[in-house]
């Protein structure tokens, strides 16, 4: 590995980036723009979930239950339904997310100390919304049944009879706000896209220019060329990582709970792996379009779909979840989310970090190996 040659490649690439207005836009504007766009656009928070009630009971208990929802800041009672047909109408027209159906004689059942059931008709067409809403509903119901049990026990003159209600305690993001969850994921996806765009054209471009022929006629080794090309992008990637973290903080108020040094380190290792993947596609492609297509189809899409950014890994079929393990973003998402939400440290995140570092090394070696010094 010759330093002089590697730095000559790095310098030429750096000059190219500096003089290409397109790449400057990609580097400086795209990440901020995307973070703002999606940070505001994707919001799973359900404030004031609209709902309706069909009360078939009419006792105090049912009114208390409904009040419990009305007073909760996450819910917004829109209508009291008088007939079943109206329920479907409301859900169809998406006027409400769910309808609470109170069965006849709820008061009697509860008064007798027997287990009672209430029904929730939920719009499941938007699964994310539905599951978030369901989570809130469970919370309210748990509270309410706790109160009822206490009252009932009081009336019987005993202590609380059945205190084993499940109270899910939500750690790390107690308000279930989605931003602290989304912003780190968004940063990860964004960095992936950026890395692909940056390096996927940088070798194949030379083929199109014709400079490839003199480049490979020179004594430079494939490794020197590939690493030399990587150096300027590593620097740019660092700037982008910092920029993304700053935007997440200033605009969305999302700050990592964990170590900033670890966040930067992990991000840079991840960027090295992603840039390496771009370089690999650049080394094997015959045209810039092909390289960009590869980068988008084979890195960006899997990152969005499989890494756990949109769909939780837990809910994936086993095979898909296994495939997800070979995507660097999957591991990086674990790291970045843990750092933002839990403040986890190296003692917990080292396996993921190690996997990412392994990815980075392997992909650069493979890219250099695929870089043929022949026409």
């Amino acid at each position: 590995m010759n330093r002089r040659r590697m730095m000559a490649v790095a310098r030429a690439e750096w000059i190219h980036i500096r003089r290409d207005p397109r790449s400057l836009v990609v580097i400086l504007i795209l990440p901020v723009f995307m973070l703002l766009l999606y940070g505001y656009g994707i919001n799973y928070d359900l404030d004031r979930i609209p709902f309706a009630v069909w009360n078939l009971d009419g006792t105090q208990v049912s009114r208390d239950l409904i009040d419990e929802f009305r007073q909760n800041r996450y819910f917004d009672l829109r209508e009291s339904v008088l007939e079943q047909r109206r329920i479907e109408e409301l859900l169809d027209e998406r006027k409400v997310v769910f309808v609470l159906v109170v069965p006849p004689d709820l008061g009697g059942t509860v008064g007798a100390g027997r287990p009672a059931e209430v029904q929730f008709v939920l719009d499941g067409s938007d699964t994310t919304r539905a599951s978030v809403a369901l989570g809130y509903i469970e919370g309210v119901l748990n509270d309410f049944s706790g109160q009822l049990q206490a009252q009932w026990a009081n009336r019987q003159g005993t202590q609380v009879a059945a205190p084993f209600t499940v109270y899910p305690t939500i750690l790390y993001n107690p308000d279930l706000r989605s931003r602290p969850f989304i912003v780190p994921g968004l940063i990860a996806v964004l960095l992936t896209l950026l890395a692909g765009l940056l390096t996927s054209t940088c070798i194949v471009r030379e083929r199109e220019w014709g400079s490839f022929e003199t480049l490979i006629a020179s004594p430079a080794a494939a490794g020197e060329i590939v690493l030399g090309k990587l150096i300027p992008y590593i620097v740019i990637a660092f700037a982008n990582v910092v920029l993304s973290i700053v935007v997440g903080w200033v605009v969305f108020g999302v700050v990592p709970l964990g170590s900033m040094a670890l966040l930067l380190t992990a991000s840079m290792v991840y960027m090295a792996a992603s840039l390496g993947i771009g370089l690999f596609f650049s080394a094997v492609s015959r045209s810039q379009q092909m390289a960009i297509l590869f980068a988008v189809l084979l890195t960006f899409l899997p990152t969005i779909l499989l890494s756990g950014f949109v769909f939780p890994l837990r809910s994936m079929p086993t095979i898909i979840a296994a495939i997800a393990q070979i995507i660097p973003a999957t591991h990086f998402l674990v790291i970045i989310r843990s750092l933002y939400l839990k403040g986890a440290g190296l003692e917990i995140l080292w396996p993921q970090l190690l996997v990412l570092a392994g990815f980075a090394v392997v992909i650069v070696v493979v890219a250099a190996g695929r870089f043929r010094k022949r026409l």
Binding site: A8, I15, H16, T214, A217, S218, P219, A221
Partner: protein
């Protein structure tokens, strides 16, 4: 004298198509070796194999005493290569391009700066060092490419059509530069279409359809392959050309500027007189007809038209 290039039975096939068909030749150190031939002859393909950019289908070659299969990296260190087509970085300046290749060939930085000054002085690039190569015209691009190929003072330089797209004045300067290089000890391996340029070569081969059809010094080429050349001025020229092409004594007749160059068969003893006679019989007025030494162009026309057949016939 030691050999800079030694090629034997080199073959390159692209699928079914044979671009280079078993050629053998050698180049001594210090030569300006010309590689001539029409489009598609296989010149660039040969050079690319010799520079280690294309893997030959079969055959052997040694460059600067290194084997082209096993010692490609050693070869790359000892050569400079200027490809046929524009291959500089378009968004780097001339200086940055030269310095980039100085880096690739491990020329120390201070020395690299000296070389930039030296080469730009000799090639007349001084005013253009800070221009983006994208904005240069063909002739200047060629000069810049020549400078980058030579920045590390390689003992052996492969120049693939350095003068293509270059005006006649610049072309002469290029050849003076190449002559200087050779005098300073660089072996130059150069391709061209322009036959007159072959005069600058110490030795040359002519390729056609992947095979070498002629080889020798420019002088040998002229005497061996083309004899009995007559330059004819007549009016109307066109009729004269037709009449001569129809004559059994004439091997070749071609337009050459505002005259005709006519090559007569070897058995003709007084070629000028034979031409006068033929044109007289055809009723064309002859203004002048005199024997001339053939130019490289004549050699090329004779060889290219007749192909291998002409060579076999004309060879002693």
């Amino acid at each position: 004298m030691a050999l800079a290039v030694e090629v034997s039975n080199l073959v390159k096939r692209f699928g079914d198509f044979t671009a280079v068909d078993g050629i053998s030749f050698s180049v001594s150190k210090g030569e300006v070796f010309g590689f001539l031939g029409p489009n598609g002859a296989g010149k660039s393909t040969t050079i690319r194999m010799l520079c280690g950019l294309l893997l030959p289908t079969s055959g052997e070659a040694r460059i600067a005493e290194h084997d082209i299969y096993r010692e490609t990296e050693l070869i790359r260190r000892s050569i400079g290569y200027m490809p046929q087509f524009f291959s500089l970085y378009p968004d780097l300046t001339v200086r940055e391009n030269i310095e980039f290749y100085a880096g690739m060939y491990e020329v120390p930085r201070a020395r690299a700066r000296e070389r930039v000054e030296e080469l730009s002085g000799r090639l007349g690039l001084e005013g253009l060092l800070d221009r983006m190569t994208r904005t240069l015209s063909t002739g200047w691009r060629q000069r810049a490419a020549l400078a980058t190929a030579l920045v590390h003072q390689p003992p052996l330089a492969f120049l693939d059509e350095p003068t293509s797209g270059v005006d006649p004045v610049t072309r002469r300067q290029f050849w003076e530069f190449i002559d200087d290089l050779a005098r300073e000890g660089t072996t130059v391996f150069v391709t061209t279409h322009v036959m007159d340029e072959a005069e600058h070569c110490t030795r040359l081969v002519i390729m056609h359809d992947g095979a070498i059809i002629a080889e020798g010094t420019p002088e040998e080429m002229r005497t061996r392959y083309v004899q009995n050349m007559v330059e004819v001025q007549a009016a109307p020229l066109w009729e004269a050309l037709e009449a001569l092409q129809a004559s059994p004594l004439v091997r070749e007749a071609a337009l050459f500027g505002d005259a005709l160059h006519v090559q007569l068969r070897e058995e003709v003893v007084d070629p000028a007189e034979a031409v006068r006679q033929a044109l007289g019989e055809a009723g064309v007025a002859v203004e002048a007809a005199e024997c001339i030494p053939p130019t490289m162009e004549d050699v090329f026309v004779a060889l290219a038209r007749g192909g291998e057949e002409a060579v076999r016939e004309a060879s002693p």
